[in-house]
Amino acid sequence: MSGIAALIVDDSSVMRKIVERALRQAGISLGEVFEASSGIEALKLLGQTRVDLILSDINMPNMDGLEFLRQLRAQNLAADVPVVMITTESSEEHVRDAIAAGAQGYIRKPFTPDQVKDRILPLFGGA
């Protein structure tokens, strides 16, 4: 697995950098990393750019991560790209909602690089 182009969607620039750092610390080989501070910005970016992985927060202003995911699927953008939610919301109900909206994985904040690796690697055929 090499050169994964990732899009990180979070209204916090600090958290976007932390997620990128965790991906690298998890040993995931990243290509270009794109950032979006909102679901709206992410949808616009995905209309023009191809990525291999999307990681998105849920609690964001204007368009939350679940609505972003629903819009992504409805607009048939990045149809074959796995989406992993990274969020403070940890209830089973939230996980179910995310999966129902089309997410392939769920990482709860706070997280360790190992937890990121465990969620991401299987999406790309890794153990």
Partner: protein, 161 residues
């Protein structure tokens, strides 16, 4: 720990969960332990506050208060980048720490986990302010310390369903 109005067993559980949440967030995200302390110097808990709103089964706020020096240290251990002064990155970092603590706290409480929503963080800078609410239900104020840096974290509720 300062409580207003009542101190039932449930409030004790809330407080213990808060201690666990703070330690979990700091340990997982920074590798640093952050444990309860009995007091916090005033100058170390007034300058910048991050506020997360709670709505749903519990209506209230979570507030992380720290001095500027402590906020800079907090942001540094979270981001790995030393910042000489309070800037947007530091404020963002404080907001995210408050957000994660609030989420980890409510995630430990079955009655709140899926029934209480969190707002996005609001950052307030300034000193010598007090928080008032019209229908106080409970108030938990705890002090914590990491690497000799202390701050305050408050959960203030107006109602619990």
């Amino acid at each position: 720990m300062t409580l207003v109005r009542r101190a039932p067993a449930q409030i004790d559980v809330f407080a213990r969960c808060l201690d666990e949440a703070v330690e979990e967030v700091f340990h997982l995200m920074t590798g640093v332990h952050c444990l309860p302390v009995s007091e916090c110097p005033v100058e170390e808990r007034e300058m910048i506050s991050a506020v997360i709103g709670l709505a749903g089964a519990l209506s209230g706020i979570c507030v992380l208060c720290s001095g500027e020096k402590v906020a800079l240290r907090m942001a540094e251990i979270l981001t790995g980048i030393a910042t000489p002064r309070l800037n947007d990155t530091v404020k963002d970092a404080i907001g995210e720490i408050c957000n994660m603590i609030a989420g980890a706290w409510k995630g430990r409480l079955p009655s709140l986990s899926s029934e209480c929503m969190l707002s996005t963080p609001t950052i307030i800078s300034g000193t010598n302010y007090q928080i008032h609410n019209q229908r106080p239900d409970f108030r938990i104020e705890r002090f914590y310390s990491f690497n000799g840096n202390s701050f305050a974290f408050t959960v203030l509720s107006e109602s619990v369903e």
